[in-house]
């Protein structure tokens, strides 16, 4: 296969057809196509409207708590003995992860479009909680689809969503995890097209979602850029983030895409190990195909059936990845590594013990490769890691790994 040509401006995508090179697009049933076009037009209008941006900025400042700090992780820096390590502290946002950035943007858009009912899918429950939160704040009814398996392993988040007034519908079809929750949300949307807004939680799905979610999450990278320039007077040598669907990663990568000196490194979930086949690494262990409205790297069998993902982290337990990551991989602008369940849990412990921060197991996948990256960059270098979520939700999982009762 010929490698695609490198573009002059990486940030100029998607094109008018919602494509990042070969990836992305709008593979949805006809019933949804008129809505998807409406959404695209409404988003473009909102994006160009300074009043919309000002309203969003106001809520991000006063409700979400932005900007999030850029923190020098001094003890981890010393521990690894390589580059200076900074954390972008997205776990300090309201609701405990980067997910709220996107939810705040999309709910303002939904109201601008006159929609009166919100649906969402969730895996770990972080996006479900963030969606339920903004729905409570603006008084809109909210239905969250969640795989029955995930409902069982993320009970505290289910209760949180209920407290916020959302209805959580367990999904038993298929493998009863995140991909099935997304199927079920799409079925709801196709059935309730008139009043319902589908608030997708990651930078995947049909155009314009990958672009829109990326734009709403790019506040992470824009702040990081300003903050590292203020702290160090220069850009970092590498930026590291975990990748499931990839919204936190694309959010911090995007403002650096045209800075050739900044390495962009995504870390996929290797589950029980890449050689076991039980993983969630779409780029490292999959091939391009079509699912949930977009062409992208997917875990699938030889006949094109989607296979189940496996990861200790419910938030990374998805057989696909956002289309922009697929393209950044193919053109070589970003590189995608992997971390196993075990490596991520060890990184979780290390971060807790040295920095006093419990990271989400999702973010711990990025932490698991941080030492390699920091040593590779070297002592004169600077590395920024997106600490995308906090790990309070994961203490039961970590306890089970350590063989302890809580």
């Amino acid at each position: 296969m010929n490698l695609p040509a490198k573009p002059n401006d990486y940030s100029a995508y998607p094109d008018a057809h919602g494509r990042f090179g070969d990836y992305g697009g709008q593979y949805v049933p006809e019933t949804l196509m008129p809505l998807v076009h409406d959404l695209d037009a409404a988003y473009l209008a909102a994006k160009a409207d300074p009043a919309f941006q000002a309203e969003l900025d106001g809520f991000l400042t006063h409700y979400v708590g932005r900007p999030s700090p850029l923190y020098f992780a001094e003890r981890l820096t010393r521990h690894f003995g390589g580059a200076k390590i900074y954390f972008k502290r997205e776990e300090l946002n309201h609701t405990g992860s980067h997910k709220i950035n996107n939810c705040m943007g999309q709910i303002l858009l939904a109201m601008r479009m006159g929609k009166t009912r919100i649906i969402a899918e969730t895996g770990a429950g972080q996006h479900g909680v963030a969606t339920a939160t903004v729905c409570a704040r603006f008084g809109l009814p909210c239905v969250v689809y969640m795989g029955a398996v995930d409902v069982e392993r993320q009970k505290p988040n289910v209760f949180r969503m209920n407290l916020l007034g959302a209805e959580v519908r367990p999904v038993t079809s298929g493998s009863a995890t995140l991909k099935d929750a997304m199927n079920e949300a799409l079925r709801d949307w196709v059935t309730n097209v008139h009043d319902t807004y589908y608030l997708i939680g990651t930078a995947a799905g049909m155009h314009p979602y990958p672009e829109m979610v990326r734009d709403f999450q790019s506040v992470i990278g824009r702040e990081t850029r300003d903050q590292i320039l203020a702290a160090e007077g220069r850009l970092p040598d590498a930026v590291v983030a975990c990748v499931g669907g990839g919204s936190n990663a694309i959010g911090i990568f995007h403002p650096f895409l045209n800075d050739a000196g900044v390495k962009l490194i995504g870390v996929e979930a290797a589950g029980e190990g890449m050689d076991t086949g039980r993983h969630a690494a779409a780029i490292n262990g999959g091939r391009p195909g079509v699912l949930h409205g977009n062409m992208t790297y997917l875990l699938q069998d030889a006949a094109g059936q989607i296979t189940e993902a496996h990861s200790i982290s419910a938030g990374l337990d998805y057989p696909g990845i956002g289309p922009e990551h697929s393209w950044l991989h193919d053109v070589g602008r970003a590189s995608y590594l992997t971390a196993t369940d075990t490596e991520s849990l060890e990184a979780f412990k290390l971060c807790a013990e040295l920095e006093g921060i419990l990271p989400a197991i999702e973010s711990a996948h990025a932490l698991a490769r941080l030492g390699d990256v920091a040593r590779d960059v070297g002592q004169d270098g600077i590395v920024v890691l997106n600490l995308s979520g906090r790990g309070d939700k994961d203490v039961a999982t970590v306890a089970a790994y350590l063989g302890r009762e809580v």
Binding site: V28, T31, R187, V190, T191, Q300, A303, I306
Partner: protein, 277 residues
């Protein structure tokens, strides 16, 4: 053959003054052998056109009946290749009944559109419906199907307004499939009075026959739709017969074909004002 087979079938039905009955069967449900027996029995039971579903793991526009049918078929190892094998085995004994494949994009991407179109034509397939491939994304497949003389049958829906309808109809051949309800298959019920003006709208914009499907479960409803459309598609109700027969340990083929016969009879006599059942 191919496109010609669909056109010939509709021309013959037009001469008879009746609508077509289109029966949907999921390939490999409950297993490959039984599905082939059902396929072979469909024309005699009154099916004028066959829609042959190829299973996909994540069928986003299907309700529970067809989701479960796909899972049963996949559990028994059915694939797109196995689906073509079934079509070929059917075609050996029937040269006239059009077969339309219906499913999702990813197995086709895996095969490669051009190679697949050639192989499908060789297996006796006449056309394709790909649920998650709207006009915006279907030119590459349409090119491949054109080269193999297969029809691409597009879906028009209640949300397809007059401005968009020409986009849907461009490169559609054989017939147009009007989705009677905004929703997934087999859940909401289709209403002939609501559907009729939409069928007229599609007819006015194209020369093609208009089939109506999604939400047609009973002979009464099938007859009502047959009075306003050129073809009536039943899927979930037939797939439910497979599930019911498996659960009750009954003869699956006999039970499905009984249901097909009652629906086909209702469609056949709908415009004669006869009590059909």
């Amino acid at each position: 053959m191919t496109k010609a087979r669909i056109d010939a079938r509709f021309a013959a039905l037009r001469a008879e003054g009746r609508a077509a009955f289109v029966a949907y069967v999921m390939a490999g449900d409950p297993d490959a052998d039984t599905a082939l027996q059902i396929l072979k029995g469909l024309p005699a039971a009154g099916a004028d056109i066959i829609e042959l579903g190829f299973p996909f793991s994540d069928p986003m526009a299907e309700g529970p009946p067809i989701q479960r049918a796909a899972q049963r078929a996949l559990a028994r190892g059915m694939t797109l290749k196995g689906t073509l094998d079934l079509a070929r085995a059917f075609r050996d004994g029937d040269q006239d009944t059009p077969i339309i494949l219906m499913g999702y994009t990813n197995p086709l991407v895996t095969w490669g559109y051009d190679a697949f179109a050639r192989d499908a034509a060789a297996a006796g397939i006449d056309g394709m419906i790909v649920v998650d491939l709207p006009p915006e994304e279907s030119d590459p497949l349409a090119d491949a199907l054109d080269a193999a003389h297969l029809s691409l049958i597009r879906l028009a829906t209640p949300t397809t307004d007059d401005r968009r309808l020409p986009v849907v109809l461009r490169r559609t051949s054989g017939f147009v499939y009007y989705v009677s309800v905004a929703g997934v298959t087999g859940v909401k019920e289709a209403d002939a009075r609501t559907v009729a003006p939409h069928v007229e709208r599609v007819r006015a914009a194209s020369q093609l026959p208009v089939a109506v499907g999604f939400g047609i479960r009973t002979p009464e409803r099938a007859a009502a739709i047959a009075r306003v459309a050129d073809a009536v598609v039943v899927g979930s109700a037939l797939v439910d017969e497979v599930a019911g027969a498996v659960d009750m340990n009954e003869d699956v083929t006999a039970r499905v074909l009984r249901k097909v016969a009652s629906l086909a009879k209702a469609v056949r006599f709908a415009r004669q004002g006869l009590a059909a059942v």
